[in-house]
Amino acid sequence: MSLRATRRATLKGISRAAALLGMSGAAAFLVRKAEGRVVWQIDTARCINSRAGEVGVKVCDLCLKECVVTQSAVRAVNEYSQCGRCNICPAYFNVTSAVSEKGVPSEKLCPRDAISRKPIGEVDPSDPANNFYEYVIDEAKCDGCGKCVMACKEPAGLGSIRLVVRHNLCVNCNSCAISTACPKDALTQLTVPESISASSRPAHSQS
């Protein structure tokens, strides 16, 4: 057998293997799709705005800039069970702004004023700096810019805010533009049952 013949056989084998892999991948995708709905979601362990280990870095706003949906399909959500409910919340306030007469920063962080708060629990007028607050994100205003997520990160925050893809807004592109641009490969495809994907909000979000 000549060297040329051997090379041709090898190339043919590689082509067949690639084709098989492609077909099996497509088949797997179709099977997954048949089992439920394939959706995009953000892996918080990878997202640079929320993942542990990334501090002292600039906020990443690619979820806002790259999404083909107007105002993006990504939203910030606050996991209440993890929230510190602080009076001076670095995701609510721009902590670098001047101190107001009330002793809190004078400016808010969110450029779209999407976060509001109200006092909860025992309110002590003699100790106002240690009253607790519930922070609510208005998803009609939020555009997923990620600033509050970055500010909520440890050590300043507790990491209770994260970015999620809202499936009622997402048009489910096969090649998600955010996924293509994400430097941390944080956008992943998940298969969820139709009964869940039909819901516009995951059960873990703010409530």
Partner: protein
Amino acid sequence: MVSRRILFTCLAGAAVPELKPAARGADWPQFRGPARDGVSRETGLLRQWPASGPKVLWTAPVGQGYAGAAIVGGKVFHHDYDETKSEWGVYCRSLATGKVIWSFSESRRIRPNHAITRTVPAADARFVFSIDPKCGLHCFDARTGKRLWNKDLVTAYKTPIPPWYNGQCPLIEPDRLIVATGGDAIMAALDKATGKELWRTPNTIKLHYSHASVMPATIGGVKQYLYSTLDGLLGVAAASGKLLWTYSRKFNVAAPVSPLPIEGDRVFLTGPYDAGSVMIRVRNTGGSFKAEPVFDMQANEWNSEVHTPIVFKGHMFAVGKKKRGLFTCLSFDGKTVWDSDGKAAFELGSFLLADGMFFVLEGKTGMLRLIEANTTGYKELAKAQVLSGQDVWGPMALSDGKLVLRDLTKMVCIDVRGS
């Protein structure tokens, strides 16, 4: 969402840049030790630990917090809070056994806000001084625990109770007690036996009270008390309480780190919430003091979130913010000489220097690492899992070869001399 837990365990520094010849059994009478510089004068400590770690002498459950201990004459003094009874308290324990010798408690409603206790008492042979979370100042008989006098700083000085509660640890001097007050006055000197005010520094320029502690220093040949506010730094004449100088520099939300005096009439200050760090120089020209910047490090350069650096051999050592808390050796011009990158991360863990070694706690795990004190590179001598976490942020105390440390809910005493 967010939160903040800058718990104001406050560490800070004083003007003692080098280790002095040490005494075995040296007291640790207040926050950051005898000279308030984070340095113990003890010697003869173990440089290697057995595989099981240093011997645990005793443990004690404590209410959630970061309140470290002071040690005088073989007695450990620390703050605590009992949530079941809503009682704030002070405990005196035997350093050898952990057994409670006396305790004081009083009803005090304090809502947990990233824990409750976060300060260290100041003690000598006669008195124990404590500032409670809501800025009440208390003086106790060190032998019996009887409260001798108390002063509500909120009432006396209009001190604002800060978010996450008081973080200030009082400064004990041979003849007086020094406290920052905020409100109407920025600082006051009090008679130790009676609480009577000796002088006060009027807060005419409305500086904001912080979580920092007052630090002693001699600058321009004049003994001073340094304090950091959310608005910058200041120096007060120790003799009179006169405000000698201020340096405007914005710190954000909280200033838990205390001013660090550096040789050459310099003062270093660092802080959290993207505040960065600053080095200033204070000049005395015929009794007129003026502060000027030496360098200013913005956010994302280098900063410490909570703890005040320690000065050793012409360098500063501290846990920085980057990469989950790298233990870092900095030159006096703010350049990183070495750090623990790739070897260890300490989150918001505390540290102290003794016998040429840094004891550094991992703030999340409770791992205690023994690091050689040098200016050439990170060299770990030993490590031991002495606590399990979480939030191992409270400052440590060392006396008679016994290291007292804590996590959120447990206090531990370990034998680091092996005697």
